[in-house]
Each structure stands twice: as C-alpha cells, then as structure tokens.
C-alpha cells in the first residue's frame, strides 16, 4: 500500500506540512489561547465579584459560545458577516472565533477554581487590612490558577487540534495544506495519516510541557 512513490510523497510533504504547522497552526493556537485566557479571567472575575450587568453579560456570552458549534461560528463570522457589510479576513476571523470559544470554556474553569479557594483566605486578608482586589490578586488568583492549570492546559491541547477547522474558512494551516496535497496527488489516506501524526507530535510535546510545569508548580508549594 505504501509503495516507494508514496514514501517519497510523504517525505516531500513533511516540510510543507510542518512549516505550516509551525508558522500557522501554532501561532494561531497561541494567539487565540492568550486572548481567550484574558477574556476568561475577565468573564470569571465579573461573575465571582458579582459585578452587576457584566456578570449577566458574561453568563450570556458563555451560554452562546458553549452552546453553538465552532464551525458554525466560523461560518457566521467569515461568510455571514460580509452580508452585513462587515468583512473580516480569514486569519483574524479564526482568531476571533477561537479566542471567544476558548474564553467561554476557560471562564468556567477559572470561575470554579476561584470558588474552590476557601473563603477563610478572604477573611484573613480583610483582617490584615487588604481590600478585595488586593486579596483577589495576591492570594486568591495565584491559588486558583494553580488549580486551573491542568484543565486550562487541556483546553490548550484541544485548541491545537481545533484550529484545523479554520481550513473551512480558507486559512491555509497544517490540515488545509494536507488537503491541498491530497487533492493534487490523490494519496488521500497517506496524506491525512501524515498530518494526523504531526498533530499527535505537537500534542505530545505539549503534554510533556504540562508535566514539567506541573512538577514545578508542585515543588513551589
């Protein structure tokens, strides 16, 4: 099945795939994750701090983005918005959707982690004269982020794979590159297996990073 020609094709495609992975898939992931995490912190904070109006807005946002398929969101932003006169390029469109999505999921993770910090930490903080924001920033969030670290890392690993959905809105990332080669050479099975292995490598690397970080976090406790 994998004759010499196929092996050569696989070898020849390795660099085109890998380079798209490194220059598109990974940056897309990191940009979306960073923005999403920032969004998540805000959405979690306004809920925990019970900020009027904003906490309802945060619930609404989380409800919408967790309740609709990411591919549909991508289509709405990239193919739908132009109908309203709003044009967004494919990569910004992908980053917008991925960060909003990551934000919605991570907000729940962060909120649960903040709520898992015992209320006694707040009370002790108040009694040494700190205010709410000082206690939040210096005592509660550092503990919460430690709790949230493994599930957030899971979200990050999930996002690496989900960026392949951007192929549907013309972003030439790793998967789209494989599709293009497969369409030209008809070696569909080999090409998709190759790209699958590359995603697996990326995720394996991230899993290793997660282990190293978790061990560091444990040591600091």
């Amino acid at each position: 099945m994998f004759n010499e020609r196929v092996w050569k094709l696989l070898a020849d495609s390795l660099w085109p795939l890998l380079s798209k992975g490194l220059t598109v898939t990974i940056p897309l992931t990191l940009a979306s994750f960073t923005l999403g995490l920032a969004l998540a912190m805000v959405a979690a904070f306004v809920q925990v701090a019970k900020v009027p109006v904003l906490r309802r807005l945060a619930r609404f946002y989380i409800w919408v983005f967790r309740g609709t398929p990411m591919i549909v969101q991508l289509f709405i932003v990239f193919y739908g918005l132009p109908g309203l006169g709003v044009y967004v390029n494919s990569i910004p469109a992908a980053i917008i959707v991925f960060s909003l999505n990551t934000g919605a999921y991570a907000a729940e993770t962060v909120r649960a982690a903040i709520e898992s910090v015992p209320v006694g930490q707040f009370e002790a903080g108040y009694m040494v004269g700190m205010n709410y924001l000082q206690i939040m920033g210096r005592v509660v969030l550092p503990q919460a982020m430690r709790t949230a670290f493994p599930p957030l890392f899971n979200t990050l690993i999930g996002l690496v794979k989900d960026t392949s959905l951007a192929a549907n809105i013309t972003v030439v990332e790793m998967f789209r590159t494989a599709q293009l080669i497969a369409a030209r050479t008809y070696d569909v099975f080999a090409m998709y297996c190759e790209v699958a292995v590359l995603y697996l490598l990326f995720c394996t690397f991230l899993t290793w990073v997660q282990h190293v970080c978790e061990r560091k976090l444990e040591a600091g406790r």
Binding site: P118, G120, Q121, E123, A124, G125, Y126, M127, V128, G129, M130, Q134, R138, V139, P142, Q143, R146, R221
Partner: protein, 250 residues
C-alpha cells in the same frame, strides 16, 4: 477601650445574638465559654465586621460606630487596630510563613519591605518559628500554622486580638505550644478576646471569664469566682458537664 452595646444578630429569622453588651479594658484577657451554637463565633465575627450585625454599637479606641451600618472606611479603621486568629488558621497557602506575616504590613500598611521583614521576623521569633520563615503552610503542622497566624496578627500591632477557638482544630499534643504562645502574649499585656474550650487556660490566664448561652452572656466574672463560685445555675451546669466530659480537667 472596646465596648459593645446591644449587639443583635439573626440568621434566617433565628436569633443568634440577643442583646449582647461587653466592655473590655486595656490588658484584659477575656475568655468566652459556651456550648456549641451559643453565638460565640458570631460575636467575634460581628465585632470584626466579617458578619454584619442587625443592630448594636461599637466603641473602640475613639471610633464610635453602628455595628449594622458602618461604612467601609470605618470598618477598615476598626480592623486596623484589631487582629483575628481563626480556628482553621487561614494562612495564605500560596505564601511562605514570612510572607504571610509581611503581606499585611507591605500591602495594607505600605511599610517598606525591609522594615516589614524586620517586624515579621521579630513576630516569628516570639512564636518560636523564625527558622520556619521559608516554609509554606502545607509544610507546617497545625500548631505551627496557628503560631504563624498569631505572629501575623501580632506583627500588625493591634490593640486587641480576637481568637476563635484557636486550638480546637489541633491534635491534642499540639494544643500546648499554641496556648503557651497565647499565654506569653497575655503576659506582655496584649488585650485579648478568646473563645475557647480550654478551661485551664481560661482559669489561669484570663482576667475575666464569661459564659454565653442562647445568644446572651449568662455570667461574667473573674476566673477564680467564675470557676469556684458561679452565681448562675446555668454556669454550674455548664462547668459540671464540661468536667464530666473532659475528666482530666480539674
């Protein structure tokens, strides 16, 4: 120095404190005894504004305020002169022993780091834990954590420290080291309000002992009188049942 008048507090329509008044003079060590649910914790929490009273006034070092309606600045002013030691220690778990003590000094009091560390080390020294300054709470025993918590309160040089059952969460063999620290603090003249079940401590260290039951102060007296000639039948019953349960006390 600290005067509580007509403090009332309900939880879900249930009266937990019914008209409690209490006066504390400088250097007083007041121990508060009472059965579970009698409102001892609630009393301390209302005075420190961790819980909002329904009514009552507080006179504390020239600050006179309504315990129900105090604004944020008044609450902060009261807490500035008040330490609180919790039953469950409540050390900041993401900080070392030293940082637990310096945090209030640097963040709230805005002391320079070096000065804060000097004061924190002095406080840790007084509770015998200078060598544990770099340990995290999870690396300390319960007794050590509680002593760090006491150092944290002391370092802010409050005019009064409230203790809510500081030894109740501890293994029996660790109770003594915490009580010893508190005893020394009392000898140094610190004003203290101590909710406790340690009758020996109450008897030997306090200047006044009081019994709470059903949300009122049933009796208060100097310890020698409180323990040997209680005036109230309820106090006699309480001491009796306590001695039966804790056979080793007296």
């Amino acid at each position: 120095m600290l005067k509580i008048e007509h403090l009332k507090k309900q939880f879900d329509g249930q009266a937990v404190l019914r008209d409690v008044s209490l006066e504390v003079d400088p250097g007083d060590v007041i121990t508060i005894l009472g059965p579970s649910g009698s409102g001892k914790t609630t009393l301390l929490r209302c005075v420190s504004f961790l819980e909002r009273a329904d009514a009552g006034t507080l006179d504390f070092d020239g600050i006179r305020t309504d315990l129900h309606g105090a604004d944020r600045r008044t609450v902060a002013a009261v807490r500035r002169k008040m330490g609180f030691v919790f039953q469950s220690y409540n050390l900041f778990s993401n900080m070392t022993a030293l940082r637990n003590v310096t945090e209030g000094l640097t963040v709230a009091r805005k002391l320079p780091k070096a000065e804060a560390e000097r004061r924190a080390m002095a406080a840790l020294e007084r509770v015998g834990l200078a060598d544990k300054r770099n340990a995290y709470p999870s690396q300390l025993s319960g007794g050590q954590q509680q002593r760090v918590a006491i150092a944290r309160a002391m370092a802010l040089e409050p005019d009064v420290i409230l203790f809510d059952e500081p030894t109740s969460a501890l293994d029996p063999e660790l109770v003594g080291e915490v009580l010893a620290v508190m005893r020394r603090l009392a000898e140094d003249g610190m004003t203290m309000l101590v909710v406790t079940h340690e009758l020996n401590f109450a008897r030997q260290v306090s200047t006044r002992t009081l019994l709470m039951d059903g949300g009122v102060i049933v009796e208060q007296a100097p310890p020698e009188q409180f323990f040997t000639h209680p005036q109230q039948e309820r106090t006699r019953q309480f001491l009796q049942s306590f001695r039966e349960r804790e056979g080793h006390v007296h």
